[in-house]
């Protein structure tokens, strides 16, 4: 037998790097592909959004508008809206996708291919690895969602504020960072984190990747359908300001309902409109015009549910309405609540629930009798 191929015991100081104990570093290597995907997709999506809204972005950068340029802006917004509509419609469902594709396979794959037998018998142990996984994966998921939410907020909603305000001397970047605007991306991030954690739990219950993904999809859709209308309506404020002739105003009472409950008119009188310039948060701007709808003594038009619903519909219907009434007018949609405490409250609630679920995962992966 060839005995030259034998282990030479290395004695004395060794030259190469001694790998120091670092669970974080291990997580970064083990979850490398996932992390890259989680970093890339928000950059791509955010980039697309940013590219599709160049003109608006330009306006967002601290520029003050003069009244005369509004129409151009309005038209641009309409164009962009049509263009970006698909993407914007998808955004609310991203947390479900991320949860499903990131959270569900995380543990189920380990069970399916047996790598947990390696991971959990190393010196660090399963709980340190779990902690590291949660911090890194949830952190990056949340961050990515925050980035997309911010781009969306910055490039979408804010210009609409501009558009409806006309000249906005009060707009500056501070607004952008102020509570109202800040919180929406936070909500989006919290929701993403929440959905990823739910999926991770599923991954510890259903120890097959495909099954876990499917189950996560079902569960997340259920949760979203049940709760998203509460905290984040799927449709955004989309204000086409019209010519100086036909703006609309919402009765403040109606508006309050809309903002807090995602209200949709169910009967005549639920929805009262008055035409005027509308801001993104539904308040009336000073410019008044003659109404096209019949007004009551308070100056509000009584709109039947059908017409009221029409007012909530997507841009595709805009043309139909224009045709019907013979002239362009304001369509506005239900707005995601800007009410800061509402948004903050939901965000915190979701983060707390996520922490709880994290604890549940820890229980699930513990040594079971």
């Amino acid at each position: 037998m060839n005995s030259t191929k034998m282990l030479t015991v290395v004695s004395g100081p060794t030259d190469s790097d001694t790998q120091s104990f670092s669970v974080l570093q291990a997580t970064l290597i083990l979850r490398r592909n996932l992390i890259i995907a989680l970093l890339v997709y928000p950059i791509v999506l955010g980039g697309i959004l940013y590219l599709w809204l160049p003109e608006i972005a330009q306006y967002s950068l601290n520029k003050v508008l003069s009244p005369g340029t509004n129409q151009k802006l309005i038209d641009t917004i309409s164009q962009v809206q049509n263009r970006a509509n698909i993407l914007v419609t998808v955004l609310p469902y991203l947390p479900i996708l991320v949860g499903m594709l990131v959270g569900a396979p995380l543990f189920s794959r380990q069970f399916e291919n047996g790598t947990y037998k390696f991971d959990w018998t190393q010196g660090a142990g399963r709980f340190r690895l779990l902690r590291s996984d949660l911090v890194v994966i949830l952190g990056i998921s949340g961050l990515g969602a925050f980035v997309i939410g911010s781009v969306y907020q910055h490039l979408w909603r804010q210009p609409l504020v501009l558009a409806t305000n006309g000249v906005s001397s009060s707009f500056d970047s501070a607004n952008w960072l102020s509570g109202q605007i800040f919180l929406q991306p936070a909500l989006y991030a919290a929701e993403t984190i929440f959905f990823v954690v739910i999926s991770m739990v599923i991954g510890t219950l259903i120890k097959r990747v495909l099954g876990a993904i499917v189950c996560a999809l079902v569960l997340l859709v259920t949760v979203a359908v049940a709760f998203q209308p509460l905290y984040a309506q799927s449709r955004t404020v989309n204000v086409h300001t019209v010519t100086t002739n036909d703006p609309l105003e919402i009765n403040p009472e109606t508006q309050a309902k809309l903002l807090s409950h995602g209200f949709s008119p169910t009967k005549h009188g639920d929805f009262e409109v008055k035409r005027g310039w509308l801001n993104a948060n539904g308040t009336l701007s000073p410019v008044q015009t003659d109404p096209f709808l019949k007004l009551d003594t308070n100056g509000y038009a009584q709109v039947d549910p059908a017409t009221g619903n029409l007012l909530f519909e997507s841009g595709a219907r805009y043309k139909a309405i224009v045709k019907k009434i013979g002239k362009p007018y304001v369509i506005w949609w239900r707005a995601p609540s800007d009410y800061p405490f509402w948004v903050a409250g939901w965000s915190i609630a979701m983060l707390l629930l996520s922490a709880l679920l994290g604890g549940l995962i820890k229980l699930r992966i513990g040594r079971k009798s």
Binding site: V9, F21, A26, I29, F118, D119, T121, G123, A124
Partner: protein, 292 residues
């Protein structure tokens, strides 16, 4: 000091009991854990490695430590049956990950072994052959500088050469250090050449648990009728030769002198183990407890 002490150790999966034993294993030996499929060998190893908890009873490593503790996880290295490395990582990255997850890890030990075996560090784990994966796993385990090595059917999926090289590697380490090894196996030839202690489990219960020298010196093939043997005290029939009225039965006895009146012969280790396995299959299990 005992490597492993199991007291009333029981494990059930879905209501079915797969392990129920009392045993202790000594340090510093190469222990072969044998038994038919479903005997509980993997279960015992998994509990010792800290992967699963027993349903009841206790298992302690090195007399007093819980297998799931930080201390034991760094002193004991486990290589699972299908090796279970991360397929998409390179060998170098697996070494790095192991280094990150273990405090007393000496990466050079792993790198040197792997280089000596001619395995490329840049290769992805999924590109390696079965034998190479097993060697990488073993290298990572040994680089932890463990006091004990637990191997779950390490050679089951390996071709004969890879199997030989794997065992040779383990034996080299045993020659150079005080490491204890527990490996589970179906292979009788592995058992005979490599181990010095045998633990036989069947249906989750202990049949044999002693030094191989002890096994060999306490078992005999005795030609007689069954009743004649039963008349001898301190002699237990392990396996009855059903081919003849006066057949060669496998007997366990501490006292050879009692068997002098019979024609006796020495069974091989393989014959002895097979006898116990046959015995267990007929469900006529004798809880033989520990043969000291």
């Amino acid at each position: 000091m005992n490597l492993l002490t199991a007291q009333n150790l029981k494990k059930s999966y879905k209501g079915k009991e797969v392990l129920n034993c009392n045993l202790s294993l000594p340090v510093g030996k190469v222990i072969a854990l044998v038994g038919p499929n479903g005997a509980g060998k993997s279960t015992l190893l998994n509990i010792a490695a800290g992967l699963v908890a027993p349903t009841s009873g206790s298992l302690k490593m090195f007399n007093s430590f819980d297998p799931g503790s930080d201390e034991i996880r760094s002193r004991v290295a486990f290589v699972a049956q299908d090796v279970s490395l991360h397929d998409s990582l390179t060998v170098a990255e697996m070494i790095k990950v192991s280094g990150c997850l273990n405090r007393s890890f000496t990466a050079d030990i792993a790198r040197q072994r792997i280089a000596d075996l001619g395995i490329g560090l840049k290769k992805k784990v999924k590109e390696l052959s079965g034998g190479q994966r097993a060697q990488v796993s073993l290298s990572l385990a040994l680089a932890k500088n463990p006091d004990a090595l637990l191997l779950d059917e390490p050679t089951a999926a390996l071709d004969p050469l890879a199997s030989h090289e794997f065992l040779a590697s383990v034996m080299q380490t045993v020659a150079e250090t005080e490491i204890s090894v527990i490996f589970s196996s179906h292979s009788m030839s592995d058992l005979a050449r490599v181990s010095d202690f045998v633990t036989l489990l069947a249906h989750g219960q202990l049949q044999l648990n002693t030094d191989i020298d002890n096994v060999l010196s306490s078992h005999w093939l005795v030609r007689s009728t069954v009743s004649d043997i039963n008349a001898v005290d301190d002699a237990d029939i392990i396996d009855i030769d059903t081919n003849a009225v006066v057949g060669f039965h496998l007997i366990r006895s501490e006292d050879e002198s009692k068997l002098r009146s019979f024609e006796i012969s020495k069974p091989s280790l393989e014959q002895i183990v097979l006898a116990y396995l046959r015995n267990s299959r007929s469900h006529d299990l004798k809880q033989v407890g520990e043969v000291k």
